[in-house]
Homo-oligomer: 481 residues x 3
């Protein structure tokens, strides 16, 4: 935890000395990045449609950005109170860091002009030419600013998914560096292949059929899910999780905020999917409806399956069912029928229940919040579903297997790349700053050990390794003073 101090010493002022230098650089360099010539007269219908597009995507971006609150509350609520501050801090800082890294590098790697593998140019959002980022000039195309903001919000989502799977035992600094690498390198490269005009956007031997992922079941959710899976794997399970070869349930500490988190995520998905249309037109509300139907169906089927399977409706499964349905609809939300959307959601809800059980009991990979089952497993399912249920290109609609093959190819390519790169990142971090806290710190809880504070000061907590981190309730509660 004192890595930062080792790097900089206590001499904050020395570190701050770079501020005036930066000020001078900014003053010289920051030449009117705002200037965006319109070419079209304000007040004309074309201009108004352009502004409407921009305002709608701003609203959508804001909804997606608010998903950080959703992930934060969901993941925190599903973990123990002794690690709440740590999870909250991770989720808050990761969006801040993602914004800056994506501004500096990620956006250019993803949308800058480059080759089929990687983009580049216009770093630090410094270009005022829309073509630099593959955009048409406003008002035909979106303003650079809002296209960047929407994409930055997506990039942050990928990193936030990781946060949940590695919770309750990861070093804070290791998580931050991993997020920088994921958002700065891995995510923008693989996303470039699909959304930046890269190598998966048109696959030659399939007659030009491209891998199709409308809003990111694979590009965002599976990528986050693969990175999360590798993280959970290299970290190992939490203390006490598999003590006698059996998976023990470690209950979350605050189901109220977890449920709130789920509903905030549901809200945010109305920006995530309909916003991915990248314009204000008739397709937008259609996408909102397919998205909502699938989320609802996922919640219903996960409830039913968990009820039948375990005899009681498990709130965690209702929550994860909703999210599974939302992840699954994401890849093809613009091209499924309503009934197809309901069916895809119903299947997602079934999948998530068995996937959680599979990772937990069979693979024995400890994912405290079920992020892998929600985002990876159902990201894959949703991406495959495009090849089956898309009304133009789906196998079930008589369009042949090309789209389905493209989907599987995309899943494998992006999955392989993300697994490889994530593994390198995690292993490099393990060999340098270390990725896992000491067992005593884990037992005590990361809030005290990594942040020196409690999430719920003033409340008496339970003793024991699972429920709390301290010797006994009464003594523990006075420990903080």
């Amino acid at each position: 935890m004192n890595q930062m101090r080792r790097l900089f010493g206590r001499n904050v002022l020395g570190w701050m000395a770079c501020i005036p230098i930066a000020a001078i650089i900014v003053a010289i360099w920051g030449v009117a990045a705002q200037a965006q010539e319109a070419g079209v007269e304000p007040g004309s219908p074309e201009y108004i449609q352009g502004v409407l597009n921009a305002i709608w995507i701003l609203v959508a971006a804001v909804l997606v950005i608010f998903m950080n609150a959703g992930f934060g509350m969901l993941e925190t609520g599903f973990c123990r109170q002794k690690n709440a501050v740590n999870i909250l801090a991770k989720n808050l800082i990761v969006f801040a860091i993602a914004t800056l890294i994506y501004w500096a590098f990620g956006f250019s790697l993803m949308f800058g002009q480059g080759n089929g593998f990687i983009g580049g140019g216009g770093w630090f959002l410094s270009s005022t030419d829309p073509a630099t980022y593959g955009l048409d000039p406003f008002p035909a195309g979106l303003p650079i600013s809002i296209f960047f903001l929407f994409q930055a919000a997506f990039a942050a989502t990928a990193a936030t998914i990781v946060s949940g799977a590695v919770a309750e035992r990861i070093e804070f600094l290791a998580f931050i560096i991993f997020s920088v690498l994921l958002i700065g390198i891995s995510y923008p490269i693989s996303a470039h292949w699909v959304w930046g005009g890269g190598m998966l956007s048109e696959i030659g031997f399939l007659g030009g059929t491209g891998f199709y992922d409308f809003a990111g079941s694979t590009v965002v959710h599976s990528v986050g899910g693969w990175a999360a899976l590798m993280g959970a794997y290299f970290l190992g399970s939490r203390l006490g999780k598999y003590e006698d070869g059996q998976a023990r349930a470690i209950p979350g500490h605050n189901m109220s905020i977890a449920t709130l988190g789920c509903l905030i995520l549901w809200l945010g998905w109305f920006g995530f999917n309909p916003g991915s249309q990248l314009a204000a037109d008739e397709a937008v509300p259609y996408i909102a409806v397919t998205t909502n139907l699938a989320g609802a169906a996922g919640g219903v089927s996960a409830t039913a399956v968990s009820w039948i399977k375990d005899g009681k409706p498990d709130l965690s499964m209702i929550i994860n069912g909703v999210l599974a349905g939302l992840v699954a609809i994401t890849a093809g939300c613009d091209g499924f029928s309503y009934a197809g959307s309901v069916l895809i959601g119903l299947i997602a809800g079934v999948i998530v229940v068995y996937s959680v059980s599979f990772f937990d009991n069979v693979l024995k990979i400890d994912d405290p919040v079920g992020a892998t089952s929600v985002h990876l497993t159902n990201g894959i399912w949703g991406t495959i579903a495009v090849g089956l249920f898309n009304m133009d290109a789906g196998l079930f609609y008589g369009a042949g297997p090309n789209q389905l093959i493209a989907q599987i190819l995309g899943i494998l390519t992006i999955g392989g790349f993300t697994v490889a790169l994530s593994s390198i990142f995690w292993l490099a971090l393990k060999a340098t700053v270390g990725i896992r806290v000491h067992p005593e710190q884990e037992f005590q809880g990361l809030d005290i050990s990594e942040h020196g504070m409690e999430a719920y000061s003033g409340f008496l907590k339970e003793s024991g390794a699972l429920g709390g981190g301290m010797a006994d309730a009464l003594s523990s509660s006075s420990q903080e003073h």
Copy 2:
């Protein structure tokens, strides 16, 4: 709690066998429900106005959908921690179920072409002809998709209102089935009378004056309130509530999330009322202002009255005052003056304080969150207020009594119908699956007994029937393992 297992056995796979069958049905039947011919050229002002309408109603629908988080946090916070998981689960699943039921049946019953009593046709949102649902073709009318989403969000609200009043003692399955019946049958029929061109939209012997409920004080809130009242009545009061003939206050367990819930609901009302204009025009912001003034006025007067009456400003009453003002303004928010809106809100805040006391102490109907007083009593008040304060048709503006009579007729007709149908539903459920949990389950708390989990694992809780559900704090807290 094992009803589900009785219905299906543990054989989940058997239940899942219907999925491939469904896939085939979808593939054959799901013919391009998306296709919506425009007839108007994209880029023309008329088209842009149509898109703007659709995007605005999407934003409004999203705000209304987020009200589920508001109701969830409000109702959970106002109840005891031992029932928190149950209330959260109810509020989450009810929106999912409402979406699906309303998609399948409700929307058609409400807006489909039928007679003055009931609509029909275009089930499962299968029609691509706007006239099926009473809409003009886009862009003159809203796209079917977004009109459906907005209406589905409204339908879910009615069911969510019930959740609060029946909290802490209802069987989970009974609540779900009741919600299905309410949203699938009762709500769409009575709403058809007003919003679907049915029998209350033009009343012959009043010279064609129609019952007027702009955004649903009666159609949504009172209907939810009547159903809630019947539920609370047939269920009976919670254990210990009226032990010696006196109503005992059973304090809520989390006023932070309850207040958050109130503020989320306030947020959502900016979709609920201004969105009910069903278009983007000058009236929309006007409605937002009247709505906000009434909510504020309700909060202020309820605070003042509870302060004077009980000597202290009660946070629950500030919350319920705000909500009362918002419910009351809903019926006529488009046609009140600003000053009228403030006055209606002030009166709502007074009414809610006395209504809570009346239901609690006089009628001895146990409504843990005050849903009846907020949604039923003030839904009635707001509906009557249209007949008094509407600037065109109100008695106080010299327009005669016709509107007021129509309002009272509407309240009685819809109230009578909802009471009758709700009573049949509740009694049928009582006679079959049962509506109330066993006293031991209620004492223990529904979270453990119905869901097998705790909301706040790791915290020590109080013993006793009112504060917690367990023998004593320390033993109870270990009970969950």
Copy 3:
């Protein structure tokens, strides 16, 4: 706490007698305030642009209004559980009161036609002539309704900032009256100078250069911050805060909701800053990006500095760093480069860490949530930054010192005025109703003493002056019955 009863007695009905009188007044006076003649044909591009402006500002206003939930959760989470109800109640009622006071007086004082010092006219939003409030006729200008709503949301923000700094020891009634005075008199007057065409909007001896505050670093945040500082100063520190000359940390009770509050505020800032464009055009998304970059940068630098300085990354500092960046960008978010915005945010994050320490340890002014450091110190920094980094008028861009001088003048004028008026208000309140609760009430917690209820009933809490307010955990928990 019985001031209300002293004022009115228990005779609520007497108080209610004014309602029928009010009804008559409303009926006579409330002449069609809605009527807004367009002059431009609906369906024309100009009209559609006008509606788009109005809808966008409505969305922005709604986001700003939701900041009340952000402030409520942030401030409550940062304080102790024994005062949670009190803070929640203050934050909820203050928005309600702000709405009504600003409707009655504040809006007219701020935007009504008057002189360079104060506006007036069109009280109670009674004028239908846009010119009364300095607006062009719709659709060229915004509808009065939505301009009012947006401004009312801003006014409420100023009062809510005060709430945090005076938390845990202020009399509820004193806070309410202070809020009325701040929003009804002080805030609208100083805001009139800048946004209402008043004396700071064009400064003669600077060649007409006006004080520039695009979205309110000074007009809203610093004004709230000065009022908060004076409140904290006149109230004195909380019991036990500076017992032996040393500042003791009094930990907040719920970091989950505090973090949620931060993220809600971040969300709201996308209404606060981009909405201040008061139109839907290309500048709006640009402002959203500069705002987001600065918030992110503030979070990152505050994390780094607190990590280096104290050896651990402090969640409170991440939160306050984000908010500091957002406050600092507010004054000039429309005219900074992207790189400039990042730099301004980075500096804000550094400033807030040292400012918190300065107020706490050097000035020994007890501000439980750091409101002064976030809103006052960084409000000043952001306002100065306009004079340095604005791409047209900033010193670093070669535009000379005039803008910088104007900024400093504005800061001093508005700061001096707000300090003077706030001091008068606080001292007058101290001399009359009293501003501080009795020490026993403070020790017990304001929830029980001022509101007669607990925020977290059913949970066992810690004993002691800092963590809880009661003799010991077990007895305390039964105290509520």
